[in-house]
């Protein structure tokens, strides 16, 4: 059987998620043996034209040009996987959605007239059909390997959509919110990181975006009971997944 052809395509993003693939280290040779890396400029200058069997898409759509380009990417691939908060929810750059982009461009660039950009940063799913998504800022390497392995085997990938709390409890971590009074976004955040931050006595900051079911209003009220200000809550929900609907709505409620 021919190895599936893999492409890694970047839109507005920091490259951190696609670097997770190179970061696989121990498993990297196995990945390279299992798939033909046909288009991955971060790894090789040898870029082969499509069509591809699987395309990992990083980044959000912030320009007209990219809005057209993602449709071409979709046309060229059988399976499209979005990787990371930018691709799945618009990323940190979606903060522009709540501000005047023209004003930002004038503040940042010496020649604003050179800049052609959209007023919003939107996830890939707002433009084309997405087959699988991996959350996180950045994504979890283990989840990436799990998804690739599942696709190769033709089985369902194990990517639970429950809260980070489940991962905390599976790992025997003590709840930072209940035992320390530390505000934590874990109860409304999608699993996948293995409850990394609570493992270091930090509250989850929601980089995997909303879980399958969220109750941000009740969690925000509890944050207030623990001493968080309205501004704290607004800012907590307005980070890497600011444009995801539940987080956007809750940030607005404390704006």
């Amino acid at each position: 059987m021919a190895r599936p052809r893999l492409a890694v395509i970047k839109f507005a993003s920091c490259d951190g998620c696609q670097l997770s693939l190179l970061d696989c280290e121990d498993e990297l040779l196995a990945v390279a043996g299992a798939v033909e890396i046909a288009n991955f400029p971060e790894a090789s200058r040898a870029v082969h034209p499509g069509p591809y069997d699987v395309t990992l898409v990083e980044g959000s759509i912030t320009t007209e040009h990219d809005a057209a380009r993602i449709r071409a990417v979709r046309d060229e691939t059988a399976v499209l996987i979005t990787i990371g908060a930018c691709a799945t929810s618009g990323g940190i750059q979606a903060l522009r959605n709540f501000a005047d982009v023209g004003e930002m461009v004038r503040a940042v660039y010496a020649r604003p007239d050179f800049i052609s950009t959209l007023a919003t940063s939107t996830p890939i799913s707002a433009h084309v059909k997405v087959d699988y998504e991996l959350r996180g800022c950045p994504i979890d390497k283990g989840q990436l390997l799990e998804l690739v392995s599942a696709l190769l085997a033709g089985r369902r990938p194990v990517l639970p959509s429950h809260s980070v709390c489940v991962e905390c409890k599976l790992a025997s971590r003590v709840c930072v919110m209940v035992a320390h009074g530390t505000p934590c976004l874990g109860p409304v955040t999608h699993a996948g990181c293995g409850a990394l931050c609570p493992g270091y006595h930090r509250g989850c900051y929601g980089c995997f975006g909303p879980a399958e079911t969220t109750n941000t209003a009740t969690l925000a009220a509890q944050w207030q009971a623990l001493g968080a200000s309205r501004r704290d809550i607004h800012r907590a929900f307005r980070t890497f997944n600011a444009a995801s609907e539940p987080f956007c709505r809750e940030a607005d409620a404390h704006g």
Binding site: A150, A153, K169, S172, N215
Partner: protein, 385 residues
């Protein structure tokens, strides 16, 4: 006479005797798990001796809150249950069921799992003994036995500790599951702090428990020791103020699947699943298959799951329980009502973990009371006695 036919030949041992007990368990090849302080909580982990126990520490628990504090009597067991239950050692959070490799045209399944190590649990509370008995019923008592649980359970030696200082979240007296252990242990200890003495009344609950006690430096228990132990249990019971209603609870919950209270609690619930993870009787799991990149190796694992997760009720076409209120209703009615029909007991032992470790402090006892109250009001309004 105890259940095993042993006379109740209780003995009294001091801290050195407790140290000897731990050493004797280890000498018999057992891994000893007990309470230790970690990350701001009393958790369960390996212990080598009494120096590992949280001496002079206690906990302050309320709905959605847990804090450690000092106590001035140097008690080794002066706290209630912590975030973890013994479930994690018997019905493990993640269990590999088998691994398999493809060699040519053959599938090679890894040899059956090794016999689990002999393990002693030190500091098992009465409510937790009740929870273990319930999990025994659920996981071993039917046609389909959880073989991994069975193997671990058979290797487990239980040293109970009767409660003297329950948390505000405790309500074992409502379920008659504590504060004093009555059965299901090998040895039960009651910590006695009387007249400046620090001792433990040790009661054997099995032949192996009696054999262990015979090996330790002890003195015979006197009437005064029994009275002191009874006073500990009486004090614990008197200090427990939370109540789970029992009268009519099962019928009320089963008769009101569309009660407005479900929506009310559904609005407050985060559907985060913490309550089910900390519950010592919740047993639901899911099966996950993983395969390796080379396509030659695979494994099947069983992982704790929760009725609060959307994936839990996913069937062809979508999840059955899309609303948080239906997930909460599933959990609570199963725990407090349908469990009776299924297993002949309540699924709740009154440990209070789901109350303390709910990040927003939802109180199952208060929810149950609200249902019973509103049902009474309804009956009164209709003139039914």
């Amino acid at each position: 006479m105890s259940a095993s036919g042993l006379p109740k030949t209780a003995a009294v041992l001091g801290p050195d005797g407790l140290q000897a007990l731990i050493a004797a368990l280890a000498a018999r090849g057992m891994e000893v798990i007990g309470p230790v302080e970690r990350d701001g909580a009393i958790v369960l982990d390996r212990i080598a001796g009494i120096a590992d126990l949280p001496a002079g520490r206690t906990d302050r628990q309320e709905a959605g809150s847990y804090r450690l504090a000092d106590r001035d009597d140097g008690a080794l067991f002066g706290y209630a249950v912590g975030p973890q239950s013994w479930k994690r050692f018997l019905h493990r959070p993640v269990e590999t069921l088998f691994r398999v490799r493809r060699i040519g045209q053959e599938l090679a399944f890894e040899p059956p799992r090794e016999t689990p190590p002999r393990t002693a649990f030190l500091g098992v509370r009465a409510c937790e003994l009740a929870a273990i008995a319930i999990q025994d019923r659920v996981l071993l008592g039917g046609a389909y036995v959880n073989t991994e649980y069975a193997a671990r359970r058979a290797q487990t030696f239980l040293v109970a500790v009767n409660c003297g200082d329950p948390a505000a979240t405790c309500f074992c007296t409502s379920h008659d599951t504590g504060p004093r252990a009555h059965s299901g242990y090998d040895v039960a200890l009651t910590e006695l702090l009387v007249d400046g003495r620090h001792e433990f009344l040790a009661e054997p609950g099995s032949d192996s428990g009696a054999a262990l006690l015979a090996y330790l430096p002890t003195r015979p228990a006197t009437a005064a020791d029994w009275a002191a132990a009874a006073a500990v249990a009486a004090r614990a019971a008197a200090n427990m103020h939370r109540r789970m209603p029992s009268e009519g609870l099962k019928e009320t919950l089963q008769a009101h699947p569309e009660h407005p209270r479900w929506e009310d609690v559904g609005q407050r619930c985060l559907a985060c699943a913490n309550c089910t993870m900390v519950c010592p009787t919740c047993f639901c799991t899911t099966i996950e298959d993983h395969s390796e990149l080379d396509g030659l190796g695979a494994e099947r694992v069983r992982r704790w799951d929760s009725c609060f997760a959307g994936d839990f009720s996913y069937v062809h076409g979508g999840a059955v329980r899309t609303q948080t209120r239906s997930r909460y209703r599933q959990w609570m009615t199963h725990k407090l009502a349908h469990w009776w029909d299924q297993y002949g007991t309540s699924g709740c032992v009154g440990c209070g973990r789901c109350i303390a470790w709910c990040p927003v402090g939802i109180d199952i006892a208060a929810e149950a009371a609200a249902f019973v109250e509103s049902s009474k009001r309804e009956e009164d309004a209709h003139g039914i006695a």
